[in-house]
C-alpha cells in the first residue's frame, strides 16, 4: 500500500502527548458525522424519558431546562481518530435525572430521534461523568451536532455521546446499540483504544 508523500489528513495541531489517547490526532475542526438525517423535533413535542421496567419518568423541554445545569469543559475523542481539546458544553448531569427514578439497573441504552441507540454501563453515566447537553461553545446546541440535546460522555469515544437523545432505558444486561451491533466496542475507552469489539 503506497504511502502518499507528505499526506497528513485534517489540519492537526501538536498535543501534549499524555493528553492524547493512542492513535488519535488533535484538530480544531468539529466534523459532522451521522447515520441519518438531522431530526427536527419541535421543542413543544420534545421529551426526555428515563425508563426502568414499568416505571417511567419524563420531562418536557421546559421541565428539563428548569433543572440545575452546569458548564462542562472536556476533551472529546472520535473513533475516526480525531480529538478536540477543551470543548465547552452546558448540560444537565445524568445524575440529576437518574435521581428521580428508583432502579437497580447496571446498564443503560440511550435512545434517540431517528432510532439511533448506544449502550453504556450505569457506572459510566453517573458520578459526574455524563450530561444531557443542550449548549455547546456558549450557544444552543446546533441540530447538526445533536441539538436540541445530546448525551455527553466525554471519557468514552464520542459515538457514545448520542446525538438527538430522547432518553435512557435502564437495563440489567448490556445490549449492543446501533454501531456496537456491527462490531464497534461495547465499552469504548479511548485510552485503551477500544474501537472495535475484541480490542
Amino acid at each position: 500500500m503506497p504511502i502518499s508523500r507528505d499526506f497528513r489528513g485534517r489540519r492537526r495541531r501538536e498535543a501534549e502527548p499524555d493528553r492524547l489517547p493512542p492513535g488519535q490526532y488533535l484538530t480544531d475542526d468539529f466534523p459532522v458525522l451521522s447515520a441519518g438525517p438531522t431530526p427536527h423535533t419541535p421543542l413543544d413535542a420534545w421529551t426526555f424519558r428515563i425508563v426502568a421496567g414499568d416505571e417511567e419518568r419524563s420531562w418536557t423541554w421546559d421541565e428539563f431546562r428548569a433543572l440545575a445545569a452546569e458548564t462542562v469543559t472536556s476533551d472529546i475523542h472520535c473513533v475516526t481518530r480525531w480529538s478536540k481539546f477543551d470543548t465547552t458544553w452546558e448540560g444537565v448531569s445524568v445524575d440529576t435525572l437518574l435521581a428521580e427514578v428508583e432502579h437497580d439497573a447496571a446498564y443503560v441504552l440511550a435512545f434517540c430521534d431517528g432510532g439511533y441507540t448506544t449502550n453504556l454501563p450505569l457506572e459510566d453515566v453517573t458520578g459526574g461523568k455524563a450530561w444531557v447537553a443542550f449548549g455547546y461553545d456558549g450557544e444552543p446546541l446546533d441540530p447538526e451536532h445533536g441539538g436540541p440535546a445530546r448525551l455527553l460522555v466525554p471519557h468514552l469515544y464520542f459515538w457514545k455521546s448520542a446525538k438527538w437523545v430522547r432518553g435512557l432505558e435502564l437495563r440489567d444486561e448490556d445490549e449492543p446499540g446501533f454501531w456496537e451491533t456491527y462490531g464497534y466496542h461495547m465499552y469504548g475507552d479511548p485510552w485503551q483504544e477500544q474501537r472495535y469489539s475484541g480490542d
Binding site: L33, T38, Y196
Partner: protein
C-alpha cells in the same frame, strides 16, 4: 450533514459484492418504495456507511468495516435485485 446517494458507496459495494451495484433495484422493507441503489440516501457516518430509503428514511442497509472485514446488514431491504 447532507445525505449523499448510492453513487457514494459504489466502490464499497463493488468490493463487497464483486459487482457494479448502483443500478440494482431495491425495495424498501419499511414502506415498499422502489429505487435503484444510486437513488438511495447514504450517510457516511464515521464508523460506517448507512443507506436509507429516500421516501421514508427507513434504514435499508449498514456497512461497517472492522479490521479489514466488512459487516453487511441488509435487513432493511425487502429485496435487492442485481
Amino acid at each position: 450533514m447532507e445525505a449523499l446517494d448510492g453513487n457514494a458507496i459504489a466502490g464499497l459495494l463493488h468490493d463487497v459484492f464483486g459487482a457494479e451495484l448502483t443500478v440494482a433495484a431495491t425495495v424498501c422493507g419499511h414502506c415498499g418504495a422502489h429505487a435503484v441503489v444510486a437513488e438511495c440516501e447514504v450517510y457516511l457516518g464515521g464508523p460506517g456507511a448507512v443507506a436509507r430509503c429516500r421516501s421514508c428514511r427507513g434504514l435499508l442497509a449498514v456497512f461497517v468495516e472492522v479490521r479489514g472485514v466488512t459487516c453487511v446488514d441488509l435487513r432493511g431491504l425487502a429485496s435487492l435485485v442485481v
